[in-house]
Structure formats: C-alpha cells, structure tokens
Amino acid sequence: MAFRRTEHHRGRRVLATLLFLLAPAAAAEPDRFSASELERIASHGPWPTAWMRDPGNRVSANPAAVHLGYRLFFEPRLSANGRVACATCHDPARGFQDGRATARGLTDGVRNTPGLFDVRQQRWFGWDGGHDNLWSASLRPILDQGEMGGSAGRTAHVLRGSAALACHYRQAFGKAPTAGDSDLLVNVAKAIASWQETLLSPPAPFDHFRDALERKDVAAAAAYPAAARRGLKIFLGRGQCATCHAGPNFTNGEFGDIGVPFFIKPAGVDPGRQGGIKRLLANPWNLLGAYNDDATGGNTTGTKFVRPEHRNFGEFKVPTLRNLTLTAPYMHNGSLATLRDVVRHYSDLDEDRLHADGERILRPLNLSEAENADLVAFLESLSPATPLPPPVVPAPVPACRAP
C-alpha cells in the first residue's frame, strides 16, 4: 500500500511538473511554455545535426586530407615570419578563437576572430561573408599580408620538406606538392578545410532540455535552470532573437545591422556585407569558379543569386550563439566584452545607429537587470557545461606511417 501511495504521489508530481512546463497559461508565467513556444524550442534541435561532406571540396572527409589539414593548421612555417599559424588566432583552447577584441597576425586586424566549432554548417564565411566556401576562406589568411603573408612557393617548400606532409598530400590529391603547381594553395586550403569540418561542438544544457521536452521526460527537463527557462522565453518572445538566431545552430546564416559601430580606428569604416559581396564576386576561388569540385553546381545558388543592396553597408554576419562562453569578446569588432554587455546592447539599443533603410523590428528591449541575467543564463546554456577536451588528433593514413 505504501508503495502504491508513493507511486501515486510520484505520478502526481510528474503531472504537476509537466503542467508546469507545458501550461496553457504560458503567457502569464515567466518560465512556462505555450504549444507555440514548445514548437519553436523544438526547431532549435536536435543537436548535433547530421554531418554532410562538402560537395565543393573533393577531399572533404578524406582521411589523408584531414590529417594534412590538421598538421598545416598548426604549422607556423606557412607564414612569412615563420611564427603565425592558423591556430595563432584560432586557438583550440578558446573555442578556436583568440580572446582578443580584434585579430593579430603579422599586423593588427580590425575584426574579431570567429570561432570554428561547427563551421561546416555555415553558408557564408567571415563577418562580411566574403567567401562562399570554407576552403576559400581558409586560403585567404595564408596569403593575406597582414595575417600570415604566405605564398604558394613557401607552402610547397614546407610540404616538400616533410616526408609525412608530402606523403599525405600525395595520398589526398594524387600528386606531389610542387612549387609551380597552381593548384597547390587551393589544395592545401581544401585540406585545412577538411580538418576544420571535423570540429563539432557537443550538446549543451539547452539541447538536453530541448530533447527532454521532445521525449516528455519531465524529470530531465526540470534539471534546466529556471533562469535559463525565463531567458529562453524572452529569447523566443519579447526579444524576437529567434527571428535571426534560428535553427539548431542559432543563426540564419545571413547578415544584419544591429547598430554596432563600423568605424575603424584611427580612420575609416568597415563596409561589412557590402564589401563582402564585392570580394565574393571578384574572388577566383568562389563556387562559381573553376575550383568548385561540385560538378552538379548544386552548391552555387547563394553566390549566383546574391543581391547587393544599399542596406548591406554596415551589415555583419549573424553569428551562431553556440559556444559563446568560449569565444568572448563579441560582435564583429570584439567591442563587447561579456554576454551581459551583449544583452545590454539589445536592451538599450541605440536606434540612431541603425540604417535608415535597415531592419525595422529592432527596438530597445528595455529589460530589467533580472531579465538581462535570465537572458545571459539562457545564452550560457548554449555552451558546453564542462570544459571541452582538446580536439582529437587525426591519425596518419597507413600509407604514410613511418616504418
């Protein structure tokens, strides 16, 4: 009888919790969700999403290329002074970011270094979307005089100087890395991209909550902090954040002007997406060019149809909201140091900074300090709850292992 009573009480408790999470009077309660909100919460998962190889990169998921790309990502000899590698700015210990407001390669840059987790899911690369594919975006810093200042000749020299690197290059591309090979730099970039495609972030506390709701697992859902639930409600509702920060990766992959200044010290402006479209269309390594390995052309739609608009000036990419606790500071110029600053930016939004012909739904959210804290709690729940281990070192392919 006691057992039955316990079960009965447990059942009532489960039912009460379920009603608490799914109550129809959701609008009146700060951490209850309506059917519509539950549907929208579900749309932010599941996580991780299905991984697909890049059809525009013929060595995507190729083990020799992944190993080669890993080695070259950490290789400073690709740079002009032999001291700057991709990993100099994309530090694995910081979510593949550098913790600086703006990047520093051979010289100081003007934009914040983006993290690289889940980079395979992006449509456009760089804050201005100046690249339509990951390998092209990986090639630019190698050649950029302010970042690595490298060259095809220097890269070939590094590859030929290492039996292991040269072997992996041959295994991946079917030929030796020669200095006169015009394809060499593109191939190296494709190898580096193939490694970056393997950088996937694990499920975060939000994902466990979202999945628990899907399973109607009340006990598991109840483990999600109340502050994060309240923040999620603001995110979906009053904040209208999900209008752009949509889907499992919390971004629509496009661009927006949210009133972050685009002036560059000491003088000048960062044109953002407007300049990005110009660079994209002038880039010989875009997907409309000869180096796209997708014979169907099915991956060219974005580049083929992109429409330059006056409002693009000062627009920057809508970033993913995953792994934010690893990648401070924030915004395209790294001007906001903390997530609290980011939330305050939207709460106190300066409408005078917005384009006259830009987005019309941006308004100051006028959040209270408690609401700011709740939204921060939600954003933090999109990052791993525990420190991430170093990335897995891809094994050398058997043909290239030393005897």
Binding site: R40, S43, A242, T243, C244, A246, G247, N252, G253, E254, F255, G298, T301, G302, K304, F305, V306, R307, E309, R311, D357, G358, E359, R360, I361
Partner: protein, 158 residues
Amino acid sequence: MNPVSAQIESRRRRYGNFLRRALFAAALGASTTSANAACPPAAADGTTITRGDVVLAWRVLLPDGALKSGRIPMARHFSLDVQLCDRGGVSGAQLAKADADMPAHKHGMNYRPTIKPLGNGRFRVDGMMFHMAGEWQLAFEVQAGKEITRLTHGVQAD
C-alpha cells in the same frame, strides 16, 4: 461538333468554370485558395491568387522534396513553380517579376531571383530565400502587352 464549335464550347466551359470558381471564392470572402483550382489541368497544385482576369498559381519547390506543413522554411533557398491563366485558360502573358519582402521589417530578400519561361504559361522562379522568420509578401508582376498586373500574397516563413 465541328472544330470551331468545339473550341467555342471549350472556352465557354472554361469561362463558366472560372466564374463558378470566382463566385465560390467570393462566397468565401477571399480571393486566395489553398488548392490550385483556377488553372487548366496539370497546373501547379499550390496556392492560387487572382486579380482581375489574371490567375496565378504558385507552389514552392525545395531541393530536397515537398513543402511540409504549408510553411516555407526560413533561411533555405527554394524555387517557385508558377502557372499563369486567364479567362480563356492558359495565359499568354509573361511573368515579368517575382520577388518578396517583409512589410513589417521594411526589407526584401538578400537574393535576386530569376524567372525562366517554361512554355504554356508556366514559369520557374529560382533563387528565392526567406532569411528571417515571420510574415513575408510574395510579389508578382504579370505583363500582357503593355498592361502590368501586380499580385501579392502573404506567406509565413519559419
């Protein structure tokens, strides 16, 4: 029945059907229907919108298959299959423009779609994308000679 009489009878039947559909739509108090019923057989099976004599049926084409739940998924490229009709059946008019914007947001798409005539009043529009969730308005311009008819239709992206 000689061929001329058959043609006249066919046109009369189509016009009669058109009037019946128009009356039905008016009875519903709407000029849009979710089923494609306005065009000749085998026309697009999506949504039909009318303005004056112009009947335009459109449906969404996604790279990976059919539209689910009738809502257009945001931030994904899609195409439109468009069929133009008039009172006589298949229209000889041209689809001169297809675009979309978010009236509440005061901006349009980030992509400029192209229109490809397929013959028999049918057109394919490529390069569409609704990059934000919310209410969008499809905007079509249909040109017959010098006359341009503009048709709009509200849709939801999410």
